[in-house]
């Protein structure tokens, strides 16, 4: 689990972490956010931003565009992308996945779920282009 469990500056499983250049690296939690919001902000500097930036600049170029999000493997980033696309005025947001849980959550967030059965290889390869 190193360095996640805490060596060097500490990590996400550390009780205390050291933050170099803290004035630039930390951002204050807005006073209007409640405790539940504040806890969920733990992903904002990472996965939430990844989902946002996957759609935001392109919806600026193509306002109101329909969006297809394909999810296979890690599920949080594409789900954050669903939220961001809808918040930024996308037209139809389709969400393709082979995960029932992910599809249900995407539909709850406002996307149209598309059940997709990605055919998975029966053997391991030294090189792969999908995230597992």
């Amino acid at each position: 689990m190193q360095p996640l469990s805490g060596v060097e500056y500490g990590g996400m499983l550390s009780d205390i972490v050291r933050v170099p250049h803290a004035a630039a690296m930390l951002a204050p939690v807005a006073p209007g956010l409640d405790a539940v919001d504040a806890v969920a902000l733990g992903s904002v500097s990472d996965n939430v931003l990844d989902g946002y930036r996957a759609v935001a600049p392109h919806l600026t170029s193509l306002p109101g565009a329909d969006v297809l999000i394909v999810c296979h493997g890690g599920q949080s980033v594409p789900l954050y992308a669903v939220q961001a696309a809808l918040a930024l005025g996308a037209g139809l947001v389709d969400y393709a996945s082979d995960s029932a849980e992910s599809l249900a959550l995407a539909e709850h967030l406002g996307a149209r779920p598309l059940q997709t059965n990605f055919e998975k290889p029966k053997r391991r390869y030294p090189m792969s282009l999908t995230r597992e």
Partner: protein, 112 residues
């Protein structure tokens, strides 16, 4: 392809790797030139500049237009985080703690 490639050494290496295999024009081209090369497919790749985008995302969260907590599928106590980390969940977080909202900068660093 129109990758959002920045200027770090590793990113320059990646760009050169693709260019050598004729998968990517080495020199930056205008949008029109890229579209002429690949009129139907545009492929974007790059790393997120967290500090640059954070204000945009935080504004959406404050306006309640973005709700990261809605993607949470599992809540575990902080002292169970190490065991829970390896278990399946779309997103795991700790229970809310009211003292965290106005925590000092030292305490805020405890956020997972």
């Amino acid at each position: 392809m129109t990758p959002a490639v920045c200027g770090t050494p590793s990113e320059r290496r990646s760009r050169r790797h693709l260019a050598e295999r004729e998968l990517l024009p080495w020199r930056r081209r205008s949008d029109a030139a890229r579209s002429a090369l690949h009129p139907r497919i545009r492929f974007f790749i790059g790393r997120t500049h967290a500090a640059a985008l954070l204000p945009e995302v935080m504004a959406l969260i404050e306006q309640r237009r973005l709700s990261p907590e809605a993607v949470t599928t599992r809540v575990v106590e902080w002292n169970a985080a190490a065991a829970a980390y390896g278990e399946p969940a779309i997103k795991t977080r700790r229970p809310p703690n009211l003292s965290m909202v106005n925590a000092s900068s030292t305490e805020a660093a405890d956020l997972p």
